[in-house]
Symmetry: C2
Subunit: 659 residues, 2 copies
């Protein structure tokens, strides 16, 4: 048994933030002030000390600082996350016999008791500190301390005729300071190490725009190229988005290629689905020749960067039958007894254009390494955003391995999980390392649903590892409420996404152009979906809601309160078609209140009730508000206010409260 085990009298527990007993790192963004708290206490009444230990993954050494006692055995520290990547932290606490002794000495001395034996005890404590100093080895550095402590020990041991001087020394700040530099920590208790991943600011606050590069050609019917994408970048920049992501850019398979509208057989001029990856031109590290060259792609990444846009690509780990892996690594796929390779299926449906990897293969380590290398390859081309297709159909631990490896090399990388699956699976992917995740926002339409879901996402421990990204549409999902094609409905959903979530995105230009026809009645599939064919978009259509999007993105950039998910607060309304919520900065210098008409078709009005007390606003005095969407100014007074919204005028309000 560890001979010190029974003498570690201090408990350190409930160190937070913490997820699953430290199994996973919590997530924060660059520039965040991170508060760490711990419960720490010892038996008895001795005085204890508690240090916060921190190191960035790039540092071998721990930095220590005293935690501040908050009362009730709660200790707190705070630090600035000023480096990307992984921080490790811990808490170490110990009984400080010198402090305990000093406290008792003062009390006894004040009570006029004889303290001669106490001084001898102090001499032993100071001598022990002196021995620790001399054993450190860096004797020259601490020579002065050693000298001081030796002399102090001697004076306490032999106060001679000046016991008052010895007592003064014993209680002096200087002796305390010197002793505090060399505490006796042999029986200290240290909490297991915890971790925080610090992501770039864009992980916490971002506006995404997805488009198909092949649909960017100037002339209708032509296959778009990366060069064509340059002007689309300008357009997206004007709209105010800061992340663009492209569906897979790799060669598309020929075997079992899908035709327009997912037809099982393709015509010769059909371009196929970009997710059927791999063909004669290569696999996951190659580029579809029609889009351009690797150099073209790097130019596009660079062009995005100069526009302060992060260009992301789609990572879809599956293969068309023509993928080079199929021949090079047959053991990465499951063989059927007839010698064929197991294609994807959802019995009785067959997806013969897709071979899934067999992650139960004996050769799984090579498979993991290769797929990680694929992502590292694109990271080396400058890509820092990866939208991962269907991560929930690959083993969880694989993602932890891949993301961990990539982020160790490129800590600014953002991984967006495309997982519209069961909640526990989505949350697990967040814990494993995905920076952001798609969310159920896409299907939430009722006031009670929004409140319940976004309270769960922003006010429970889920938020430590799961950052939702709100998409009103994707190439796979045209929600039924958009089938009407009504621009007010598209505007309303855009407003909700952009203000409920600090991270949101749209699949455009389909979204802003109010593309709305489903392939079949009530289907969520787009008719003439870009997934299977080229499209040509009229960006100047009068139906476009681009002006609203531009305005909303501007507001998001100007209002810090909208750049955070955790400060979301819902407020009562007396009309279930009116959703009212606010976001505010911690110091309440920025308070933004949204009121959204969930109806989208009819005028709605009612009363909202605002938490003026929380905001420090006097009920008896008028306060200024501005509707940031219209620029209109009003004066309100008291917590209860009347609101009226006409869908044909505006989808909702974004009020800035001017306190």
């Amino acid at each position: 048994m560890n001979p010190n085990l029974g003498r570690q009298r201090v408990v350190v527990e409930n160190v937070r933030p913490q997820v699953d007993a430290g199994r996973f790192a919590v997530k924060r963004a660059l520039g965040d002030r991170i508060v760490v708290e711990a419960d720490s206490f010892a038996d008895g009444h001795d005085i204890m000390r508690c240090n916060f230990l921190l190191r960035h993954e790039s540092q071998p050494q721990w930095t220590e600082s005293p935690m501040q006692p908050q009362g009730n055995d709660l200790w707190r520290s705070e630090f600035l996350a000023d480096q990307l990547g992984r921080y490790e932290y811990s808490v170490e606490a110990w009984i400080d016999h010198f402090h305990t002794w000093r406290y008792g000495l003062r009390k006894k001395h004040e009570a006029g008791q004889d303290v001669s034996v106490e001084l001898l005890i102090g001499a032993e404590l100071v001598s022990a500190a002196h021995r620790r100093v001399t054993q450190i080895g860096k004797r020259n550095l601490f020579a002065e301390d050693a000298k001081y402590l030796a002399a102090a020990a001697k004076q306490l041991e032999e106060p001679g005729k000046q016991p008052a001087d010895a007592i003064q020394l014993a209680l002096s700040d200087e002796l305390l300071a010197r002793m505090d530099r060399f505490p006796d920590r042999q029986f200290a208790t240290r909490h297991p190490t915890l971790a925080i991943t610090v992501d770039p600011l864009r992980a916490r606050f971002s506006a995404w725009y997805e488009f198909f590069p092949r649909s960017t050609a100037t002339r209708r019917g032509e296959h778009g190229t990366f060069k064509d994408c340059l002007s689309r970048l300008d357009y997206v920049q004007q709209l105010g988005f800061d992340v663009v992501y492209l569906p897979p850019i790799h060669p598309v398979g020929e075997a079992f290629r899908k035709g327009k509208n997912n037809a099982t057989s393709a015509r010769t001029d059909d371009v196929g689905s970009p997710w059927a990856i791999g063909g004669v031109a290569g696999g996951h590290r190659e580029i579809l020749p029609e889009l351009g060259t690797l150099a073209d792609f790097r130019s596009l990444v660079e062009a995005a960067r100069t526009r302060d846009i992060s260009l992301g690509i789609d990572i879809a780990f599956q293969c068309s039958p023509d993928h080079p892996y199929v021949k090079q690594h047959p053991n990465w796929f499951r063989a059927r007894p007839d010698g064929s390779i197991q294609y994807a299926e959802n019995p009785p449906k067959k997806y013969q254009d897709i071979f899934p990897f067999d992650f139960e293969t004996d050769d799984w380590q090579a498979l993991w390494n290769e797929l990680t290398e694929v992502v590292l390859f694109w990271a080396r081309q400058g890509v820092r955003v990866f939208r991962v297709d269907n991560p929930h159909t690959k083993p969880f631990d694989f993602w932890e391995f891949l993301i961990g490896n990539v982020k160790r090399n490129f800590p600014e990388t953002i991984f967006l999980s495309e997982a519209f699956t069961r909640p526990k699976i989505m949350y697990r992917l967040g814990k494993l390392g995905f920076t952001q995740s798609y969310s159920y926002f896409t299907w939430r339409t009722l006031k009670a649903e929004f409140i319940e879901y976004f309270t769960e996402l922003t006010q429970t421990p889920v938020r430590e590892t799961f950052r939702p990204n709100l998409w009103p549409n994707t190439p796979d999902i045209l929600p039924e409420y958009l089938h009407s094609g009504s621009p007010p409905v598209f505007s309303m959903r855009l407003l909700l996404a952009a203000t409920l979530g600090a991270n949101y995105g749209i699949y455009g230009p389909a979204y802003e152009l109010c593309e709305h026809l489903p392939r079949e009645h009530k289907s969520e599939e787009y008719l003439d979906s870009e997934k299977y064919q080229l499209r040509h978009w009229d960006l100047n259509s009068p139906r476009s809601i681009a002006p609203l999007i531009t305005k909303v993105n501007q507001i998001r950039r100007q209002q810090p309160a909208l750049q955070n998910d955790w400060n979301l607060d819902f407020h009562p309304t007396d009309n279930d078609q009116l959703l009212c919520y606010s976001k505010s900065t911690d110091d309440k210098s920025n308070i933004v209140v949204m009121v959204v008409n969930l109806d989208g078709h009819q005028e709605q009005h009612g009363f909202i009730t605002l938490p003026l007390d929380q905001w420090g606003i006097d009920h008896s005095r008028p306060f200024e508000i501005e509707d940031l969407l219209t620029g209109a100014h009003y004066q309100w007074q008291g917590p209860r206010e009347y609101v009226e919204l006409h869908p044909d005028q505006q989808p909702g309000h974004i009020f800035r409260i001017r306190g």
Copy 2:
């Protein structure tokens, strides 16, 4: 790296009950039905299975049973805690390829697809199961299974001219049952083992009575003996208590002995404090000669048992200067530089009659072992209840060691923690193994305080390891609100203790006789405290509230709802001096509603509001209630009822609802 690591595709998380990631065992009582839940899921869409694993500490083998899926990746099992002691449990889950295959085969077959290749895949799965059977070794036991599976594999592989028969076999219940007996669990995921401590029923439901054996003599002024205690046991039994505990029964030190009312010097006839343990007659394993012999003590324990009373003793790990340990083990105490031993102190106060153990001694392992042996010694004398004095002044890990050792040998043992200290320390002691703990009930007087504190104790994770025991007084604590000596106040506090908590206790006869004089104004110390002198009690005093106590204890035994802490529910009242709460059994067959007048001096009345919907009671129909304290019957209707309480008549109501 474990070559299977990457292939363990199933996640098992959030298995509950669970405390601090399994660092501590949760607590339950004998006869409890224990529900275990887990979140478990895998990537993709394969069918998985999830087993619950359980073993009692007395069994080497795990018992397995399938967990029931509840939807949303939640799995559940339930078992009866029918043995005292420690259970270990875990959850193991895996992907079942046979189930997945069978599901797909059925779908394809129903869709009329050719399944010949699927049958070959099935043949491989069945062959693999056959290999597993033959490798188990107990071949004779499973010979029939082996034969069946070999034949089935062959038929699936070579269906010949009867593919329909092969399909029928493939989908048969019998093949499924046989396959389920030998699943492929090589890539199974197993959750770390968790633990539950099953305590005797009395750990969950008990009424304690503390008395000083030395104050039981028939004749005033004489030192009571264990023989005198026998008639006191009859009295306590009549009152309806089922645990009696005695302050320390060991020889009392002479050095620095305290006199009456804690005088620093004792007179020759002063009996001293029983907590100053150790004298010429011995230490923690010996008995104070004035009380009797070890044989007398064993007789007393046995006499209690025949009355269905558990007799407990006080464990106070500290020594008088006369304790044999002081000479035998000087290294278990801290030496001062002048050669003296460090006495207890709270500077500038000195407690020179008490030497604390130095748990930081090099010899801590011997100290731990000896103190554990002390408890085991008394356990061998038949003691199964230990009230531990000041556990928070000894290292936490020491208690885990001691309690663990004792309960391994005597799993029915109950340890009550005497820790009126900071809440996190009290909760830690509960986690470490204390069966019950004193609580802040003693100082809670306001309605809001009761609701806040008891909600924390009974409705948060605290309850998994912390069982409060509610004491309106102790020999150390005469709370200020009792200083009036008013029997209605003593009755009110008794009623609260006995119905808010399933575990409660009093220090008597002081309590039922309304002993109320403090040593000084506003002090919590009793005047003429039994801690320092003999007392003679007039059990027949007309001021005694023994009749009420007897009634309340009867009611507690008759109403199962009062025997549990977790079912406590507070209800609104429109008068802050009226506290209303209920307890009910899970099946609502027993619903008991308390209304207590917190004033204690003045009549109070008001309306209470009951959750009739929760209890399945129709708002529009009258229902019967009975006041169990008075036997009066009423009819109520609807959730809102008027209540009026006169302290001189009754301290509160205990209503039984008759649905």
